[in-house]
């Protein structure tokens, strides 16, 4: 759908935001079609259940429509929606949880009594580009990330994929900063254990 044709004017992001703030119905449909698929993919990273992911996207738009008046345009519309969908996805996880959040097992390296590393590794020499270019390898690693315990997966996604700061993650997940750091380190080591054989 080309909103610029429908409302008969070329639209910059600023103009689109202005239309949204005016309550232009076409502009609402435009941003749903323009960014909805992208937001659905982001939601599915956190929520494996399709219906939950769609609910998170719907919640995102309803939140965005009601908050558009306060949108200051410091980030792009897409980035703003991206942040909202992550929040809504995390909220969905929290509302689905009946058990307390699981702890991430300690997968730390082993050290001797002087704190010296006992297990030594050899350097990974496999080309990252080649690994990523291999569809089955890529999908296998992605599946391993999806199969991590929920908290480990959330920490990895938020930090290593989304690039949030540890402070932002602490706020998003409502846990302490040291817990984010410990959990993130353990999550990375847990993933290491699961994919190491593919990297050798």
């Amino acid at each position: 759908m080309d909103l610029s044709k429908k409302i008969n004017m070329p639209l910059s992001e600023e103009q689109l935001i202005a239309q949204l703030k005016k309550g232009n119905v076409d502009s609402f449909e435009f941003i749903v079609r323009e960014y909805g698929g992208y937001l659905l993919i982001i939601a599915k990273r956190y929520l494996l259940n399709e219906t939950d992911a769609e609910d998170a996207v719907q919640d995102t738009y309803l939140h965005a429509f009601s908050a558009i008046a306060t949108f200051e345009g410091r980030a792009s519309l897409k980035s703003w929606l991206h942040r909202i969908v992550i929040n809504k996805s995390l909220m969905k996880i929290r509302s689905n949880k009946r058990r307390p959040v699981e702890l991430i097992d300690d997968n730390s390296s082993f050290f001797d009594t002087n704190g010296k590393r006992i297990e030594t590794e050899t350097e990974i020499t496999l080309s990252l580009e080649k690994l990523i270019a291999n569809d089955s390898q890529r999908e296998h690693i992605k599946a391993q990330i999806h199969q991590l315990p929920q908290m480990a997966k959330n920490l990895l996604l938020l930090k290593d994929i989304e690039g949030y700061s540890t402070k932002e993650i602490a706020e998003l997940l409502d846990i302490s900063l040291p817990s984010v750091k410990t959990g993130l380190h353990r999550a990375r080591l847990l993933l290491k254990k699961k994919i190491e054989h593919q990297l050798r």
């Binding site: 659905l40 010296k116 990974i124 990252l128 990523i132 992605k142 750091k181």
Partner: protein
């Protein structure tokens, strides 16, 4: 290892153990080590080949995670029924 329970960063000694080194990796990668802390961390890195390789591999896997998801949003597609549901829900609120 428990990062939460680690005692404070080394202040005067130039030598840290591999275990202490590892407990500061998250902060190092985030660029949150400064001054003496960073200097001592890097000093250990120079002196300990095992930790040097450990860090390289650790960073490789972070980059791998990032790359795995880098292109998965290239072909977004939203089902029409979801578009309809969102617009209908908005109408209800209006």
């Amino acid at each position: 290892m428990n990062i939460e329970n680690k005692s404070s960063y080394p202040s005067t000694s130039d030598s840290i153990s591999c275990e202490t080194f590892e407990s500061f990796i998250v902060d190092y990668i985030d660029g949150n080590l400064e001054g003496n802390q960073k200097r001592i961390f890097i000093q250990h890195l120079k002196e300990c080949p095992a930790c040097e390789i450990y860090l390289k591999n650790y960073e490789y896997r972070i980059q791998l995670s990032k790359s795995i998801f880098a292109n998965d949003t290239d072909t977004p597609n939203i089902p029409n029924q979801l578009v309809d549901a969102i617009l209908a829900a908005k109408k209800q609120i209006d």
